[in-house]
Symmetry: C2
Subunit: 388 residues, 2 copies
């Protein structure tokens, strides 16, 4: 059997393969990317299920619309409008997806022919690289600096033929934990505003800011071809696979709806009712504050331990939110070799390799801090320092 | 913005568009394809949610594996093995999908390059045509006769270059309600068994047989390239989007897993826990018997009314299970014209057009009987007869 070209090119998840060896009970793992279970409001979700079934009966179990549950779409539009005054989203601008991973896949499916160009942060989000690769595009990587995309490289990338979309994660990016500055957001917008491309801002971590000020979107509210992606995976539950697409480009959204119909008909409507019930009957903001407080403690512990134990030639990012720290080793050091050494010390991380579209050997690695106590984090960083 | 070739070719759902006009309160609609709400065991599902949360806690809300919840995969393998003795499925042969619609999309994604051949029943399942079209294949339609695929046409179709897969719905097919006979199953298997193609048997309705004997799969248990698709949408709940793929071809299944990872990471794990809890703690078989008894009454009412009111030159199928009857009007009559006339009489159906890959004007139409009382069905058929 000859399989399709696109599936043969698509990387299976490097991270999931790594997790198989890092799962041993005595390994301190910074390799995962899971939210801490504290972020699941279990009792409230259980109550919400019962209330949603009692209030709506059979409807929560029947087939439903491809766009998603209207009150949930309205809630999402309102939520974003309340956050930033120039957005003016309506429910008609929102489509519910089976996690925001599906949003990436659907948008690439409706935009990309083989060989079309995708501008992406380097390093970039692995799940996006996987989803886009199914369309066999040309990737144009633009260096992600401490302040955001390198603007000169970005302008050059936009000059490449067939560029159809730009993919960014402006807040607490995965894998780097970096956040675009206000100034860089404006420069990136100036560079892209007159181009015929779809500009995606994927924002799964945006609410999890533990220091500094909330910053406005780059293009949302200012450009029809702006697309914002979001998710409830990091603040309510990833298990229910509930994400969303927001855009004022309704031609694009109609195509996404057709693609979604052909892909899975609609997102689990039972889960949509539960989430809406939960969001409208609980103190969601207070719940998010709890998650933020925990992650801040964990991030502080990791950064303090790195300050204490890491040699000065090892560089790392200082996230203002989210779940990750990005470490850069000296030039020429191979992160994959270090991974093997680290596993001997019973500490795990993700080597940077899968976050690049074109690099074989890299000197970078990703650390997650959301699933360990401050004490364990310090011990893990100490072990890691021994091999750096 | 120039969208992708594949999305521009993909039909948006003709049926969903039709449903927008047939939804008026005074229309008798045979146009839908929804299961009757009696098929949702509401109280039992509610209990199952509470039990699943109490027993498993945070795990039901966390990220999970792409293959699906292991006990549910095991349940599905056992269920099929109990139905037919030569299958020998294990949990390793099962992958859980976001509805069986997603199974169609994933399999075509891992198999098809643009222009590759797909053999499909004519008329065929609309959702499959939509999913496959995203890969821009060549369709080879084979006439679906009362006994199953026309074998001579099928053999010819298999000789076409680049045929990668064959798609069949052997039991109570959508749209025709037809079921392959035992003999025809064997002939189809003989024709395909030595070919290098994936043979798909999609079986969403198989459990809903109200007359005649259960028949064995065509290729499952006899051929590594056999794929069986199934769903809980017609017997428990479609709203939770839970389907599955079974195959002994693990190379194929691994590719499907990679594609699913890139598409939506995994199927809603909360829903998988609930379904497994429901299936293992309730009288599932007795529940299915209730659905069958209802659908039999409704199908009988429709067939009796057609016998009574339809002119003899109008032909129709006599389903042994499932949800649909297929009507063939005299040659040259355009079903779309009849749809307009029928709507004036306040009765609705789906014209046959979207079930063909290459026909503009057809004299066939689909009737659904699962969502009306016998009295309403009789009245609707009477109105329909007036315009035939």
């Amino acid at each position: 059997m000859q399989y399709s070209d696109s599936i043969l090119k698509t990387p299976s998840s490097f991270i999931r393969n790594i997790l198989k060896v890092t799962d041993a009970y005595d390994v301190i793992s910074f390799a995962g990317g899971l939210p801490n279970p504290i972020s699941f409001p279990i009792d409230e979700l259980k109550q919400s299920v019962n209330d949603a079934i009692d209030a709506n009966g059979a409807k929560v179990f029947q087939y439903s619309t491809t766009q998603g549950y209207l009150p949930l779409r309205q809630y999402i539009a309102d939520k974003l409008n309340n956050k930033q005054s120039n957005l003016n989203y309506t429910a008609e601008d929102v489509l519910i997806t089976t996690g925001s991973q599906q949003a990436l896949e659907l948008i690439s499916k409706v935009l990309l022919n083989k060989g079309d160009g995708v501008v992406i942060e380097e390093p970039g989000y692995l799940g996006a690289i996987q989803a886009f690769t199914l369309r066999e595009p040309s990737f144009y990587g633009v260096t992600l600096e401490t302040e955001g995309l390198n603007v000169e490289q970005f302008k050059d990338a936009l000059k490449q033929p067939n560029v159809k979309m730009v993919y960014t994660v402006p807040n607490f990016q995965n894998p780097t934990g970096l956040t675009y500055t206000k100034e860089r957001r404006e420069e990136v917008f100036e560079a892209v505003k007159d181009q015929d491309v779809i500009f995606i801002e994927d924002d799964p971590y945006g609410e999890l800011r533990f220091t500094g000020e909330h910053l406005p979107y780059i293009a949302a509210g200012k450009m029809t071809n702006s697309v914002v992606l979001g998710s409830f995976s990091k603040t309510v539950t990833p298990g229910m696979r509930l994400g969303y697409i927001l855009t004022k480009n309704h031609e694009l959204l109609n195509h996404v709806e057709t693609a979604k119909q052909a892909t899975d008909l609609h997102t689990n409507i039972f889960a949509q009712y539960i989430l809406h019930q939960y969001l409208t009957n609980n103190e969601y903001e207070a719940h998010v504050e709890k998650i933020i407080a925990l992650y801040k403690t964990q991030a502080d512990a990791m950064l303090a331990a790195m300050e204490k134990y890491f040699p000065p030639y090892v560089k790392y990012t200082k996230p203002e939110g989210g779940m990750f720290v990005w470490v850069t080793l000296p030039e020429g050091v191979n992160a994959l070799d270090k991974f093997t050494e680290a596993m001997e010390k019973k500490v795990a991380f993700v080597p940077g390799n899968p976050f690049y579209t074109d690099k074989e050997s890299v000197n970078t690695l990703r650390l997650n801090y959301t699933n360990a106590t401050p004490e364990t984090i310090e011990e893990g960083i100490k072990r890691l320092a021994e091999i750096l």
